[in-house]
């Protein structure tokens, strides 16, 4: 059965409509969890509200387990899924730059869209900033091109890279997530409350 649209079980014309529906679920869950508030999001970095950590890693663990179980029972072909390609240098450099942007802006693109939807003007400005930043990138691209395309490892998975059993790796991810949740709860109790 696998991924339905790539296997033509659902016609490809429905793809955009499905994207819309899934996006709605995504946006709803994000906003309902509080990701439309930049001060709530930033709580993860200052210790007063770890919502980002909790939602993010719970979602990651849930989806990893879900996908792997579906794959095991033959309902989903893992090999047909799109795995984000690995370009070592640009992944790290881009991540660091984004972290800087995150610290200043308090949003990431997905959450900023949610915040715009409920009327946050700072999110609107942030989104404008996104466009400007991308535009700037197109200017600077010729200088960055070599870095951008270097060290391509292809569409590999982490356990694949370390030649490790996928399921063992996932178990460690679960343990790490649990550890982080416990640590987060402990830290949150000790940190001074912030009213936002």
């Amino acid at each position: 059965m696998g991924p339905l649209i790539p296997n033509n079980i659902i016609p490809a014309d429905w793809n955009n409509a499905i994207a819309l529906l899934l996006g709605m679920c995504f946006g709803f869950v994000l906003e309902a969890s509080g990701f439309s508030s930049s001060r709530k999001i930033m709580g993860t970095f200052f210790g007063y509200d770890f919502v980002v950590l909790r939602v993010f890693f719970t979602a990651a663990v849930t989806s990893i387990l879900g996908i792997l179980y579906l794959d095991y029972f033959g309902w989903l072909d893992f090999g047909q899924l799109y795995i984000h390609p690995t370009y070592l240098t640009s992944a790290i450099v881009g991540g660091v730059i984004m972290g800087f942007g995150f610290a200043l802006g308090g949003y990431c693109p997905g959450t900023s869209y949610c915040a715009v939807a409920i009327g946050k003007l700072d999110a609107l400005v942030y989104s404008l900033g996104l466009f400007l930043g991308i535009y700037l990138f197109t200017f600077v691209y010729p200088w960055l091109e070599t870095m951008f395309t270097s060290n391509s490892l292809g569409n590999i998975t982490v356990p694949g890279f370390f030649s490790m059993n996928t399921y063992v790796f996932v178990f460690f991810v679960i343990l790490a997530a649990l550890g982080m949740f416990i640590a987060a709860t402990l830290v949150q109790r000790k940190v001074k409350k912030v009213d936002y």
């Binding site: 996006g23 439309s36 972290g99 693109p109 946050k120 400005v125 982490v158």
Partner: protein
């Protein structure tokens, strides 16, 4: 007749773990149906590409980066991510209505002014937009969806974002706490 006091839900949020499970389910569905994960920065990129193409088509064709996303037979906005993001707006809007959170405002720490917040938000957006193109994804696309399929690039980008964000937010803590 008893008056129904409208309860203020604006600070009510889902339990984060519950929200995480819901989000995980949405991700599973997305992969199961479409074979790809969610994303956000891609839609911003498509918007920029379309704008550049309509305003300065010559530049668009010559630019090494923009030209990759222009094709003669398909409009760059006719793109899975663009439709998904429209959905994100709609879904968040619905949630905002449900919880009574629809209110135009500039959210900022009481220790800085609105204006400063807006300037910093713009800068933050620019940096993030730039970085998202370098890393070929943002927290939703690379980190979240990448992790869902255990992508190495996804994990690396996620660690880069969060690690760097911790350092920089501590540096700029005056903006927030």
């Amino acid at each position: 007749m008893t008056e129904k006091i409208k309860k203020d839900h604006s600070k009510t949020y889902l339990n984060p773990y519950f929200g995480g499970v819901l989000l995980g389910i949405v991700l599973i569905l997305t992969f199961y149906i479409t074979g790809r994960g969610l994303g956000a920065s891609g839609a911003a990129k498509s918007t920029v590409v379309t704008t550049i193409q309509s305003v300065a088509p010559e530049y668009a064709k010559e630019s090494g980066y923009v030209s990759q996303f222009i094709s003669d037979d398909e409009h760059p906005m006719n793109n899975w991510l663009v439709f998904e993001v429209i959905g994100v707006f709609a879904g968040a809007f619905l949630s905002g209505i449900l919880y009574g959170r629809l209110k135009p405002k500039v959210e900022h720490s009481p220790k800085i002014t609105s204006r400063k917040r807006l300037i910093v938000a713009l800068l933050g957006g620019m940096l993030f937009g730039f970085g998202s193109q370098v890393a070929r994804g943002c927290t939703s696309g690379a980190a979240l969806s990448g992790m869902a399929v255990l992508s190495l690039g996804g994990f690396i980008t996620m660690m880069g974002i969060f690690g760097s964000a911790y350092i920089f937010s501590w540096t700029f803590r005056k903006l927030w706490i």
